[in-house]
C-alpha cells in the first residue's frame, strides 16, 4: 500500500541532475583553487560557505527535499541544535587553550 503511493501514472520530470552535478564539481574546483592559491586571508569562511552550498544542493535536488514533504526536511535538520551544542561545548574547551 505504501509503495503504491509511489506510483506515477505519467513520466516523472525531475530537476536537471547533470546541471546540479556540474555545479557541484565547479564548487569543488573553486574550493581547491582557494586552498592552493589564496594565502593572503583566512580561507576558512569561504570554504565553509562552499561546503554548505554543496551539502544544500545535494540535499535539495538529489535527496528531493525541495519537492518532498517539509517533514522530511524538518527531521534532516533536527540534529542541528545538538550539533551546535556539541560544537559550542568543544569550542569552549578549546579556545582557552589556543596559543596566544
Amino acid at each position: 500500500m505504501e509503495q503504491a503511493q509511489n506510483a506515477s501514472a505519467h513520466p516523472h520530470k525531475g530537476p536537471n541532475y547533470l546541471a546540479v552535478g556540474g555545479v557541484l564539481l565547479a564548487l569543488t574546483a573553486i574550493e581547491i583553487l582557494i586552498t592552493l592559491f589564496v594565502h593572503d586571508f583566512d580561507i576558512r569562511i569561504p570554504l565553509f560557505i562552499l561546503m554548505l552550498a554543496k551539502v544544500t544542493l545535494v540535499a535539495m535536488f538529489y535527496m528531493h527535499l525541495r519537492s518532498d514533504s517539509k517533514w522530511y526536511t524538518a527531521f534532516f535538520l533536527a540534529p542541528i541544535p545538538f550539533i551546535l551544542l556539541l560544537i559550542g561545548a568543544m569550542m569552549l574547551r578549546t579556545i582557552p587553550q589556543l596559543p596566544k
Partner: protein
C-alpha cells in the same frame, strides 16, 4: 612505489567489487526466500479466514472486540494510515539518517577540535600534492556516483529499465573505485609511519575515514542486492521504486559526509 600503488588500487577495488557483489546477490536471494515464505503464509491465512476465521484462544478476561483485531481476523492484514501523511518507510529512513548525522558529527567535531588545539601531529602529510591529487580524484568520483544514483532513480521512475541497470552498475563501480583509492591513500600513510595506534592524528583520521569507507562498502552491497532483486524478480518498477529511492537517500547522505570530510580534513 607507483606500481605498488597501482596493484593496491586494483586489488582493493576488484576485491570490493567481488565481495560486495557476492554479498549483495546473497542478500537478494535471502530476500527472495523470505518474501516467498511471507507470501505463502499470507495466502494460507487468507484461505483460513475465507473458511470461517482463524482459531484464536479465548481471552482470560472478556474484553470488547478491538477493531484492529477484527480486521486482522477477517482480512488477514490491516492498513493503518500514517498520521503525518508521510510514507512510513521513507520517514524511518530519514530518522535513521538523522542519527547518522549525529554519529558523524561527533567524529568530525573531535577531529576538528584536536586540529585546532594543534594535537594532530602528522596532519601535514595530507596536504602534500600527491595525497591531495588523489583525494580530489576520489571526491570527484563520489560526486559522480551521486549523479549516477539519481539518474538511475530518474530512469526507473520514467520506465527506462536498461538505463536503470546501467546507472546502477556504474554507481557500484564508482563506489568500488572510491574504496580502492582510499586504500591507496591509507597505504601511503601507513608507509609514512602514520598508523591508527601511533598518534592522535592517526586514530582520529583513520576512524573517521574508516567509518565513512565502511558506509560506502555497505552502500555498494545494498546496491548489488538491489541489482540482484531487480534482475531476478523484476522488482523496482516505474510504479514501485521506493526501495531504490531509499538507497538513493543513503548514498547521497554518504556523499554529503564526504563533502564535509573533504573540506574539514583535507582543505582546512
Amino acid at each position: 612505489m607507483e606500481v605498488q600503488s597501482g596493484l593496491i588500487f586494483v586489488g582493493i577495488a576488484a576485491g570490493v567489487l567481488v565481495a560486495t557483489g557476492g554479498l549483495g546477490l546473497v542478500l537478494a536471494l535471502l530476500f527472495y526466500q523470505a518474501d516467498r515464505q511471507v507470501r505463502v503464509s499470507h495466502v494460507q491465512s487468507a484461505e483460513l479466514a475465507a473458511q470461517g476465521g482463524l482459531a484464536v484462544r479465548p481471552p482470560l478476561v472478556a474484553l470488547p472486540p478491538e477493531p484492529t483485531t477484527e480486521l486482522l481476523l477477517s482480512h488477514g492484514q490491516v492498513e493503518v494510515p500514517p498520521t503525518l501523511g508521510l510514507n512510513n518507510t521513507k520517514f524511518g529512513m530519514w530518522i535513521f539518517l538523522s542519527s547518522e548525522i549525529m554519529f558523524f558529527t561527533a567524529l568530525i567535531v573531535t577531529f576538528t577540535t584536536l586540529k585546532i588545539r594543534g594535537l594532530l601531529v602528522g596532519v601535514d602529510a595530507l596536504h602534500n600534492s600527491g595525497s591531495l591529487a588523489l583525494v580530489i580524484l576520489n571526491t570527484s568520483i563520489l560526486l559522480a556516483s551521486s549523479v549516477t544514483v539519481v539518474l538511475a532513480l530518474d530512469s526507473v521512475q520514467n520506465g527506462k529499465r536498461p538505463q536503470f541497470f546501467r546507472w546502477m552498475i556504474v554507481t557500484a563501480v564508482l563506489g568500488a573505485v572510491f574504496i580502492g583509492l582510499q586504500g591507496v591513500e591509507w597505504t601511503t600513510l601507513f608507509n609514512e609511519g602514520i598508523l591508527p595506534t601511533k598518534s592522535l592524528f592517526g586514530t582520529s583520521f583513520f576512524v573517521t575515514t574508516g567509518f565513512h569507507g565502511m558506509h560506502v562498502i555497505i552502500g555498494v552491497i545494498w546496491l548489488f542486492s538491489i541489482i540482484g532483486r531487480a534482475r531476478l524478480r523484476g522488482e523496482f518498477t516505474q510504479q514501485n521504486n521506493l526501495g531504490y529511492e531509499l538507497f538513493g537517500l543513503y548514498w547521497h547522505f554518504v556523499d554529503i559526509v564526504w563533502i564535509i570530510l573533504f573540506t574539514v580534513i583535507y582543505l582546512l
